[in-house]
């Protein structure tokens, strides 16, 4: 009986201690939440007139606008597999594409490793090719379980890239595809595959230097 009482008291003590900690924690939460002026904002407010601030804000907003491209630009949403050709806020073309699969390829023996992601960030059109030829890199052979050829001509593939290609650096292209049924899926080795009609329209509109934003 005395043992049971002792256990009960210990549990009660723990519960009270826990409750005290919870109350202390909640009071910290409430107290800290009310500390609005902690970053010294209200001090600065009293020193600057509202009109000066509003004028400054207008100027900053204008300067911010000046960073965005004046001409048309390309947005690529790798999550949704969509490409948008835009001018300002107007969408000129909306295309379903295929982006990087995110898969990993390891060379048997483990010497080299490739990650098939579409690179993200700001790029620009660096080259425009009609009837592009793909010079197959080593991974294309390794992926198919073939030997990497020693003869350069064995790497030439004239069909895979479609009618046009827009290069945006490091061997990455926006190009056509034979696998149109896979448009809308993340299946590529990092390049952006586009259907024929959309590719033609994008190729015609995008000049060298056109900015590409991939996210």
């Amino acid at each position: 009986m005395a043992k049971k009482k002792g256990v009960f008291r210990a549990l009660l003590g723990l519960a009270v201690a826990w409750a005290c900690l919870e109350i202390a924690g909640y009071s910290v939460l409430i107290f800290r939440q009310s500390g609005k002026a902690s970053d010294g904002m209200e001090k600065v407010v009293s020193e600057q007139s509202i009109r000066v601030l509003q004028a400054k804000n207008g100027q900053l907003a204008e300067r911010l606008k000046s960073y965005s491209p004046y001409s048309s630009y390309i947005l690529v949403d790798t999550a949704e597999n969509r490409l948008y050709l835009k001018q300002g806020t107007k969408v000129l073309r909306d295309a379903v594409v295929s982006c990087g699969s995110g898969e990993i390829l390891e060379e048997p023996g483990g010497k080299r490793k490739w990650l098939f992601d579409t690179p993200r960030g700001e790029f620009s059109v660096q080259s425009k090719l009609v009837d592009p030829t793909w010079i197959k890199p080593d991974w294309a052979f390794i992926e198919e379980g073939e030997k990497v050829p020693k003869n350069f001509n064995d790497r030439i593939d004239e069909d895979s890239l479609g009618d046009f290609a827009l290069g945006f650096g490091n061997g990455f292209f926006i190009h056509g595809t034979l696998y149109t049924r896979l448009l809308g899926r993340n299946v590529t080795h990092g390049c952006i595959r586009v259907g024929d009609a959309d590719l033609k329209a994008i190729f015609q509109k995008a000049g060298l230097g056109t900015r590409i934003y991939i996210f």
């Binding site: 900690l21 924690g25 939460l29 407010v45 804000n57 900053l60 898969e103 700001e122």
Partner: protein
């Protein structure tokens, strides 16, 4: 009569002074937001703005909005977040997406069931950790039973653990901010996970008034 007029004058001046101060604070907050964004827009890197005033998260580059997600609901605990850029330190989820390996020689293009990393593989419930003790938990509204149960569980956990955490940070004299974000749907929370990369900058803008 004179007393009444005096009271009215005092009340009016108090009200107008309050309104002017509010407007000043708003203008200053906007100024800080624009200054912080300007610094990010100068570089080629994309960045995020969590704008709790407009209830939107925007992924931007050079001032252009690349993508926008709606914030359905947000809850805050702890200190206000200063209006400046923070780099995302860590994304954590119970079931993070895993990259698949290609087996050489297996023709992937012919497969009906492609083993690729897509939006649907992303977690819809995860946590973002920033410097200065800022943590953001993300989830989405759901009517499905198990995710709903998960939401209830995490709310109960938060109710008990959050005060202890706040106390701990307070004893350690460190900043502490906990934000819970509820996105409109699963696709949005998954989309944010996909687009928000570790190391990427983010401005968290929560107006004071």
């Amino acid at each position: 009569m004179r007393n009444k007029i005096a009271w009215i004058v005092i009340l009016l001046s108090w009200l107008t002074a309050g309104a002017a101060a509010d407007e000043k604070t708003k203008a200053l907050e906007k100024n800080k937001l624009l200054e912080a964004e300007m610094a990010l827009a100068k570089t080629s890197a994309s960045y995020l703005i969590m704008n709790f005033s407009e209830k939107f998260i925007s992924l931007k580059s050079r001032g252009i909005i690349l993508k926008k997600w709606e914030i359905r609901k947000a809850r805050f605990w702890g200190q206000y977040v200063p209006i400046k850029a923070f780099g995302l330190f860590k994304k954590s989820a119970w079931f993070p997406p895993k990259r698949k390996s290609i087996v050489p020689g297996k023709e992937a293009q012919g497969d009906v069931d492609l083993q690729v990393l897509e939006l649907k593989e992303m977690p819809s419930r995860y946590r973002l950790t920033f410097p200065d003790g800022i943590h953001i938990s993300i989830r989405n509204r759901t009517r499905k039973f198990f995710p709903f149960l998960g939401n209830v569980g995490s709310s109960l956990g938060r109710l008990t653990l959050l005060p202890l955490k706040a106390l701990w940070f307070s004893i350690k004299k460190k900043r502490f901010t906990e934000i819970e974000l509820v996105m409109a749907d699963e696709k949005d929370s998954k989309g944010l996970y996909w687009s928000f990369l570790e190391g990427q900058s983010c401005i968290i803008y929560r107006p004071i008034k």
